[in-house]
């Protein structure tokens, strides 16, 4: 391997031969080799001939400018369109201060706080994140992230099975759950020999009769969502909680930090576990990348998956933070760990915390109230269009709602897309519309387009 002297060659050769992120000069390479006692870098590789790769990947090196230009061009092929999309992934405005602070390299380029004395900053930020989730859920224990809400749901199921005194094998989830989320849950459940079944909803509320017919002593967890995938605020959570409790099943509630700022505290309605996508604050639309929120009641503390930051003190009596209860984790407990998670979504949690801090209690409360108002206003306006009735579910809504259309929803969705508006197809004759502050000023245009398509 011939390294290129950075200042002697033209750029194209340099691009083809060496990494711009490896600083060694040819002279240094020589010095280092003689210190090692080797003649060449090749000699350092103890790879048998038979498995040596001597081909090419055919990946052409590019300059930074070229990479940025090419990716900009590629992503530019994402067609223009105003998204009224939600169903578990939301686009709220993220203030500039979140980017500027979270992108500080001290945060961005550090890793897990194995040495707490030199990583107090990130530890405190994660501790504050956990604390914010505690305030929002009313539950005393929140970890500092799972990958996303779907994997958090999987972990919740495994936790529910572990904490039960008697064994059980069934998990009940609402029929409106996103099929993708359900699929992740099934994959987590399968290894623990748990199975999942859905229970019906009635106008956005749990069908309690159906649920009580389904539930028995074999159920380890009942999952409910509020808001539901269809945007409805569920009104029967306390009843679901007590049904679960009667059968010694854990009650897991799915929500998100904006909704939690407004809705009844999960602890008050009887939730044992709360999961959700916390990145609704902190990340704008990001193709589904998320941040799994995970909070539990005190009794489950030692069974929690993932990292926990705790407060402690230093040898000289100063408050300090550290990762704690690590004997739950894979690097110590191996196959008996509470989860396999190692790398998590810590930096997204930092962003979420900065976003919440920037909003403050009042800003967050206002944002949550707006999610109710904008959804109900948009639903009312669509309801005025001939051939549309909205909302379908006779409930209060949060950010989004389902509308019934006289024409097949697939046609409506595609004709709206042709006009530059992206909405969900939620059923054969149902579309779903999500409104936040980022698209609210285009609701007029959306309503006009729906009118064109339907009237």
């Amino acid at each position: 391997m011939q390294r290129i002297q950075h200042d002697e060659t033209d750029q194209s050769d340099e691009l083809n031969e060496s990494s711009p992120f490896a600083p060694q000069t040819p002279q240094e390479v020589d010095t280092m080799l003689s210190a090692i006692g080797a003649d060449s870098v090749e000699e350092l590789f103890d790879v048998p001939e038979a498995v040596t790769f001597d081909g090419d990947f055919d990946i052409e090196a590019k300059s930074e400018f070229e990479v940025r230009r090419d990716i900009e061009n590629l992503l530019g092929q994402n067609a223009d369109g105003t998204e009224f999309l939600g169903r578990g992934h939301y686009d709220h405005y993220v203030p500039s201060v979140v980017d500027y602070l979270s992108l500080r390299s001290e945060f961005l380029t550090s890793y897990t706080q194995y040495q707490p004395e030199t990583t107090q900053g990130f530890l405190q930020a994660l501790f504050e994140f956990q604390s914010m989730i505690v305030e929002l859920t009313g539950l005393p224990v929140a970890n500092c992230s799972m990958y996303d809400v779907a994997t958090a749901l999987g972990e919740a199921a495994l936790l529910s099975a572990r904490v039960r005194e008697t064994s059980g094998s069934r998990i009940l989830v609402p029929e409106t759950i996103r099929s993708e989320r359900h699929s992740v849950l099934e994959n987590y459940a399968d290894g623990a020999e748990l199975t999942t079944e859905t229970y019906p909803l009635d106008e956005g509320n749990t069908d309690l009769d159906a649920l009580s017919d389904l539930i028995d002593e074999d159920v380890v967890m009942v999952y409910a969502e509020s808001p539901t995938t269809r945007g409805a605020i569920e009104e029967r959570l306390p009843e679901v909680a007590s049904l679960a409790d009667d059968h010694d099943a854990a009650f897991c509630l799915g929500s998100d930090p904006v909704a939690l700022a407004l809705l009844k505290e999960p602890a008050t309605v009887g939730a044992d576990i709360v999961i959700g996508d916390a990145s609704v604050l902190g990340l704008s639309a990001s193709h589904g990348m998320g941040l799994g929120l995970f909070a539990v009641k005190q009794a489950y503390l030692r069974q929690v998956p993932g990292r926990l930051v705790g407060a402690s003190e230093t040898a000289n009596g100063r408050r300090a933070y550290t990762l704690t209860l690590q004997t739950r984790e894979q690097h110590i407990r191996k196959e008996r760990a509470t989860s396999n998670i190692c790398t998590n979504q810590a930096w997204v949690a930092l962003r979420t915390a900065i976003h919440i801090a920037t909003l403050g209690a009042s800003g967050l409360a206002d944002l949550a109230e707006d999610c109710v108002t904008t959804a109900s206003e948009a639903a009312a306006r669509l309801d005025d269009v001939n051939g549309v009735s909205a909302p379908v579910d006779d409930r209060h809504h949060f950010r989004e709602f389902v509308a019934r259309t006289e024409r097949p929803a697939a046609d409506v969705v595609s004709e709206l897309a042709d006009r530059g508006f992206l909405v969900h197809e939620a059923g054969d004759f149902e579309i779903q519309v999500c409104v936040t502050e980022t698209n609210n000023d285009e609701v007029d245009d959306l309503v006009a387009a729906v009118r064109e398509v339907l009237e």
């Binding site: 498995v51 930074e64 501790f127 503390l301 191996k334």
Partner: protein, 481 residues
Amino acid sequence: MNYRQATWERETDSGEPVNEPLLSEKRTGTVSHDDVDLPDELVREELTLPEPAEPEVASHYTRLSQMNYSVEHGPYPLGSCTMKYNPKFTEDVAGLDDGAIHPDRPDEYAQGTLAVLHGLQEYLAEIGGMETVTLQPPAGAAGEFTGLLVARAYHRSNDEDEKRREVIVPASAHGTNFASAAMAGYDVVELPSNDDGRVPLEALEEAVGDSTAALMLTNPNTLGLFERNIADIADVVHDAGGLLYYDGANLNALLGRARPGDMGFDIMHYNVHKTFASPHGGGGPGAGPIGVVEELTEFLPDPHVREAEDGSFEFYEPEESIGKVHGFHGNWLVLLKTYAYISRLGDGGLKDTSAMAVLNANYLASQVDLDIPYGPFHHEFVASAGDVDAAEFAKGMLDEGVHPPTTKWPEIVDEALMTEPTEALSKEQLDVLAAAFTETDRKTSEELSEAPTTTAAARIDQASAARNPQLSWRDVEGHDE
């Protein structure tokens, strides 16, 4: 090196000594929802949260950031973690507005994003020598779990799932290997290393059989050693009807020189936040794509990206898909940075990356006086702190202005200091790091027990943190109200 980490030691209003008060100790607000159009029983009574003004937010987090050691401060040689420089331009690429789309867009409205995903699938397949790559798993451990689900689906399709209940994992493997196998419903069989630190072929022959679902291996292994017998290992596992899984944590050693697919691995994960420089973010996010051989392609997670006949890209569900391992499409922003990094380096840059990573590790080892019992190693080595507790040794190194290595793992080396400098450290930085080892080695046990003295916090009482967990500001003793 005379190093001092920033700190703003002070007391809170109630006299508690802290570095930086909690946000909740500065100003909080309590709100209730009086005019929202919802029935009372659905609405929370009140909510209390910090209420700082933006300048206060900025100051708080800037101070916190300065109490946090990072790759850009200096050496961060955490073994197995590949803490390399994270090129800045990838952040700008990740910040492009055109990439900020909803995951439920129809394919024809997401052609740009699909093109990037498809391009990355192809890059990674080529680099790993695998047939097909899925990008859905959100970290390395999630990749392991996904890979084992694929293995299970494969055995199920052969009606062998009932009997193939075991996954074999070398004792020196990362904790996630064991935990992922257990989560996928397998019994874990631990394989001890032989005297030269590698997989013992005879013991492996004894361990495999009808009940073997897979063997999980890292190569180079966690001692940095190449498993020279890899072709034989692959034969043993395959002859027994098992699959061979590659833990890609150490791929930074081999870019362009050896490919897991060519070594006989059937499934592998890539730790893109290690090998391909997406930042570690204080613990994540990462991404853990997996690659598989042709026979396993139809089991990959749903959806997968392919190129249609007209040259456009589309999501589709592989015929015997295991279903999903992430609610949407994985950690998109991380994947985008990975694509940018690989595009920047190209063949030559990738190859040079491994060359310089291996050179750096070998040079550093030549300058470190501690015992390094196993070799020849590649991109990392495991030194022994000898009579000194490795965790204590690490605290001593903190005072030299560097981040210490990974400690006490793999256990096969006493008081292990697993050290991975990566290609990104200059010779000068390697010399600084070597000096930090030497200086620390000179410290008396008493000096070590008092270390660190230069960091924002002195030694932290871990035991009492676990005994008396304070997990939110509500629990904190002396917390200002």
